[in-house]
């Protein structure tokens, strides 16, 4: 019991350490889409000289090897509540221009994405996050920076 509580309390600290991962994905929002591109090309393939989709299929299999399984950051941290005041966390799930990143890029689970959306919108309203514009270098309010407990 007490160990569990400790884990929950110490959650905010690793949150920032591991925070870079989703951000990096956010830096290249076109990445996953580009992956999808050749798939679109493959659809044309059967009509062309390629004939059976053999090589395309193989390529597809290979690519699946490289794709890393994304896990929901909030589930890993066991967060049951996404605080709209923690702008530093929210900024990781926002594109450079302030758009909310889709789930397919960040790997956030459906439930947390729902809460995340609400939190980001609240943060925007109080000028912690931009509606449109640079989200780089957003910091948490000073009072909240130190993890509680």
């Amino acid at each position: 019991m007490s160990e569990e509580q400790k884990q929950v309390q110490s959650a905010p600290a690793p949150a920032r350490e591991g925070g870079d991962a989703p951000r990096r994905e956010g830096g290249h929002p076109a990445g996953p889409r580009r992956e999808g591109g050749p798939g679109g090309g493959r659809r044309e393939g059967p009509g062309g000289p390629g004939g059976p989709g053999g090589p395309g299929g193989a390529r597809r299999g290979k690519r699946q090897y490289f794709r890393k399984k994304k896990v929901c950051k909030f589930c890993v941290e066991k967060m049951d509540f996404i605080d709209y005041k923690r702008a530093d966390i929210l900024a990781q799930f926002v594109q450079e221009r302030g758009k909310i990143l889709p789930r397919r890029m960040t790997g956030v689970c459906a439930r947390h994405q729902r809460w995340l959306g609400v939190a980001i919108k609240r943060a925007r309203n109080i000028a912690l996050l931009p509606f449109a514009g640079s989200a780089a270098g957003v910091q948490a309010p000073r009072a909240l920076e130190a993890p509680k407990g």
Partner: protein, 135 residues
């Protein structure tokens, strides 16, 4: 009506003197006292860069409060008072208690599951072994 918890954030102009901010907080306190509520927390976040321009300012002084009350009217009154202040450029009130309730429920569930988990893991293992030997 049951008690509710609200987050109240307001942003003052960056050039606002300390006393002026104290005065604003004081007006909020009196309003809270009048309507029957309690300020649980007051935090000064200091001067922060705003994510976008507000009233032509790029920076603002953030003040954060948590208010507990069972009068919904109080929020209305607090927002009215903040709106009247010239030094306050932005404010936001958010109801928090329901989300905290949900959080509590979920973490309780998780703890219950964590307490049950060891037994669950040990159970399927002998079953799997049996299947493997049968094949």
């Amino acid at each position: 009506m049951e008690e509710r918890l609200y987050d109240l954030i307001f942003i003052a102009r960056p050039a606002t003197p300390e006393e002026e901010i104290k005065k604003v907080i004081h007006t909020l306190e009196t309003a809270v006292a009048e309507k029957g509520g309690k300020i649980e927390k007051t935090e000064h976040w200091g001067t922060r860069k705003l994510a976008y321009k507000v009233a032509k300012h790029r920076e603002g002084i953030y003040i954060y409060q948590q208010v507990r009350t069972n009068h919904g009217e109080l929020v209305h009154e607090l927002e009215r008072r903040l709106g009247v202040q010239d030094s306050v450029i932005k404010y936001q009130t958010i109801r928090l208690d329901e989300e905290l309730k949900r959080q509590k429920k979920l973490s309780q569930k998780r703890e219950a599951r964590a307490a049950r988990r060891p037994r669950r893991i040990t159970q399927p293992v002998p079953g799997a072994e049996q299947q493997a030997s049968a094949n």
